[in-house]
Symmetry: C3
Subunit: 109 residues, 3 copies
Amino acid sequence: MKLIIAVVQDKDSNRLSHALVKADFRATKLASTGGFLKAGNTTFLIGVEDEKVSGVLEIIKSNCKAREQLVAPVSPMGGNADSYVPYPVEIQVGGATVFVVPVEQFEQF
Amino acid sequence: MKLIIAVVQDKDSNRLSHALVKADFRATKLASTGGFLKAGNTTFLIGVEDEKVSGVLEIIKSNCKAREQLVAPVSPMGGNADSYVPYPVEIQVGGATVFVVPVEQFEQF
Amino acid sequence: MKLIIAVVQDKDSNRLSHALVKADFRATKLASTGGFLKAGNTTFLIGVEDEKVSGVLEIIKSNCKAREQLVAPVSPMGGNADSYVPYPVEIQVGGATVFVVPVEQFEQF
Ligand code: NI
Ligand code: NI
Ligand code: NI
């Protein structure tokens, strides 16, 4: 048994929840902020049998992997024309930081 | 030293807190949602000496164990008489999912 | 790789965050309440290489250590003169409870 602790961006949190449920894994979500990832984030606790760890990591990777996203330009407040970029830019979104921790005993009451 | 991570339903959270304090165990509660248990839930972090793990598990079990609860019938909105059950029904409440994790170092500053 | 789980008082939380960032450590903060420390508290998750654990513990200690603080006297509501202390008193603030947990696998996606 392992406990997978995964910190993911809020924007990927719902999608990851649904993908885990669909694959019959159960997770608890903890409200969390800052740190590993800049934007608001969610910490998942997922308890799994040893042989299913890699399957869960694949699900996290495919739903939360860091990727580029095109963002439409925004006119700068106060009209600082020097910093205005008049075309869409790519920013990086998503990403996950994942710890796999050993579980010595697991109980359900 | 072990770290006990226990996910319990919100409705059992206060009772568990009091039982732990009474038995002189200290816990931190993390706000958490969904997953292991359907309703709103709370995640307890409880640090204990190895020989006290079973005592804490007993306290969690006796305060949070899944059990049946009688629920009074509710008239269906919109009057769908087919699904109306005119007598109290038993639903399952409570339950706890518990991970015992090894602690390599413990410090209090 | 270790996962450091540190419960600190809210009043020290911001200072600890900044000190960790300055030392190039990344942490996730979980909202938490009660238990190890009486006042509102924050739980930090900090993933670090084994050889950096003591450095992080030093940062937690120097930013969150329990210490005395002088508190100005407050006139009692309802004028219970018996319990009124007409000079500043020292109370204890701060403190941290820290668990170092082994990490079997660490991934960033
Ligand atoms: Ni949904
Ligand atoms: Ni109470
Ligand atoms: Ni700040």
